[in-house]
């Protein structure tokens, strides 16, 4: 394990302000340690990919950023996780307010069994008091932002479950965008989608990163190579290598990274 690096690579562009920073973050599920002392600085308004074989802790790491692991029994955390400089596991931090700032998109689209409109309006109704006209504007804005408006504008009252898989995933993104998050976490957002729906989500990510920070977990290395500015490689819960995506895929510094991305294991 001495091959595993502790410090992030200096190739991460200097000067871009950090949105998310973990300092010696460790996470356990009961006795099993899923994340081991991971220190990582994720820059603002960039797409950062987290890659690694199944069970390496990449989803655990991602879910820790909006405290989604809180709901799992026996989950314990040590170290620090800062979002905008604030320790999100400090006493008194309200996870609901944190999740307003940090949205999460799941692997499988999970729209509520409600209308398209109500899906997008859901979070807004939860967090804010809004008039009907304000709500209409937010829903339209979020659907436009998620590149879905043109496809659904004439059937906003229809069930979201009638949409295709790709549309459902963009609806879930619109639902997250409606409450104006600063960070969007995406946990294998395209693994249930066909290549065309995947391309639409990836295009959307490029548009969204102008206004928010995106962290994506993916097992698809080519997707990481296509979309991410920076990539972190996790193995057995440890951070092995973190750097500019181009450098990581052309000239990885670590033998483990090399062997993983070239398909020699995992």
């Amino acid at each position: 394990m001495d091959q595993i690096l502790e410090a992030p690579s200096p190739s991460i562009e200097a000067g871009s302000r950090t949105t998310i920073e973990s300092r010696s973050l460790s996470i356990w599920y009961g006795k099993k340690q899923a994340i081991e002392e991971v220190s990582l600085s994720i820059p603002r308004l960039r797409i950062t990919a987290v890659i690694g074989p199944s069970g390496c802790g990449k989803s655990t790491y991602l879910r820790a950023i909006n405290r989604m692991n809180d709901t799992i029994r026996g989950c314990r955390i040590a170290g620090q996780l800062l979002v905008d400089g604030e320790d999100i596991y400090a006493p008194g931090v309200d996870p609901v307010l944190l999740r307003r700032k940090v949205g999460l998109i799941f692997q499988k689209p999970n729209p509520f069994p409600k209308s398209i409109y109500d899906n997008v309006a859901f979070g807004v109704r939860l967090h804010y008091r809004a008039t009907r006209a304000e709500l209409d504007a937010v829903v339209e804005g979020a659907l436009r932002h998620a590149n879905l408006w043109v496809e659904v504008k004439d059937r906003l009252k229809e069930s979201a479950l009638g949409l295709s898989g790709g549309q459902q995933q963009r609806l879930c993104i619109a639902r997250a965008l409606a409450i104006d998050p600063e960070v969007l976490l995406m946990d294998e957002p395209c693994s249930a989608l066909d290549p065309i729906a995947t391309a639409k989500i990836e295009d959307l990510m490029f548009e969204l990163k102008r206004s928010m920070t995106i962290v994506i977990v993916t097992h698809n290395m080519q997707q990481a190579a296509r979309v991410a500015d920076n990539t972190a490689f996790l193995y057995l819960g440890k951070l092995v290598e973190y750097g500019a995506t181009r450098q990581l895929f052309e000239r990885p510094r670590n033998e483990l990274t090399e062997n993983y991305i070239t398909g020699r294991f995992g």
């Binding site: 190579a225 052309e250 000239r251 990885p252 070239t262 398909g263």
Partner: protein
């Protein structure tokens, strides 16, 4: 077998096949320049004709390697060392093809000299020495590629300096001998060509060496300070 393991197996097989072709290409190019110089030293038209044949084989193999590299990129999207192996092979084939082409050029000079008849003029000794050093460079460079070994590349650079010095010396020597009438102008002029071709072959060997360093380490060797 998992999908990733199956992909790796297919890519490995493709890379192995590419490597076999590259090794053959490297051997043929080295053989071409070696035989070309022998044909010149011995005024041997049969050997010269063999070089012509080798050049055609080298070209055909180069085209094959280019196709294999394009297939690997299109079908397997290689990354890291795999990607560097493919891109390096693609670049090196051009160098190897050029070396084969210079072999043919030298073999043509052999045929022209044989065609002219007359008393054979023996190969200038420094030209023979330069040819030996150049062939040694090609040998080291192609061996570094085959064995994925970057450490010997430094030796290539040192030998290249000697080749460059010999190139200058040969030029002055041949011009002097042509001026004094020790060598007739046409023969001297042809040797000047050979002198130039060998110097170019040595440069291609240096290119190959530098690309092997990139392939193995991911770092590009820094150019010498005096070249900026």
């Amino acid at each position: 077998m998992s999908e990733r393991a199956a992909q790796r197996k297919a890519l490995s097989k493709g890379l192995d096949r590419l490597n076999e072709r590259m090794v053959t290409l490297a051997e043929l190019s080295e053989l071409a320049i070696r035989k070309a110089m022998d044909s010149l030293a011995r005024r041997d038209p049969v050997l010269a004709q063999e070089v012509m044949l080798l050049d055609r084989e080298i070209y055909a193999l180069q085209v094959e390697v280019e196709g294999a590299c394009a297939d690997l990129i299109a079908l397997h999207a290689p990354v890291a060392r795999d990607l560097r192996t493919v891109t390096t092979s693609l670049k090196i084939t051009t160098d190897l093809d050029r070396i084969g082409r210079y072999g043919r050029d030298i073999a043509e000079i052999t045929l022209q000299m044989v065609g002219r008849g007359g008393e054979p003029v023996s190969l200038p000794p420094r030209l023979r020495e330069m040819a030996d050093l150049t062939i040694e460079m090609v040998d080291t460079a192609t061996d570094a590629f085959v064995k994925r070994y970057a450490d010997t590349v430094r030796d290539i650079m040192i030998v290249d300096d000697k080749v460059d010095a010999l190139h200058q010396e040969n030029f002055r020597d041949l011009v002097g001998r042509m001026a004094s009438g020790a060598v007739d102008v046409e023969t001297g002029a042809r040797y000047l060509y050979v002198n130039r071709y060998l110097e170019r072959v040595a440069d291609h060997a240096v290119n190959i060496g530098e690309r092997v360093v990139y392939m193995v380490t991911g770092e590009r060797p820094k150019p010498p300070a005096d070249q900026g």
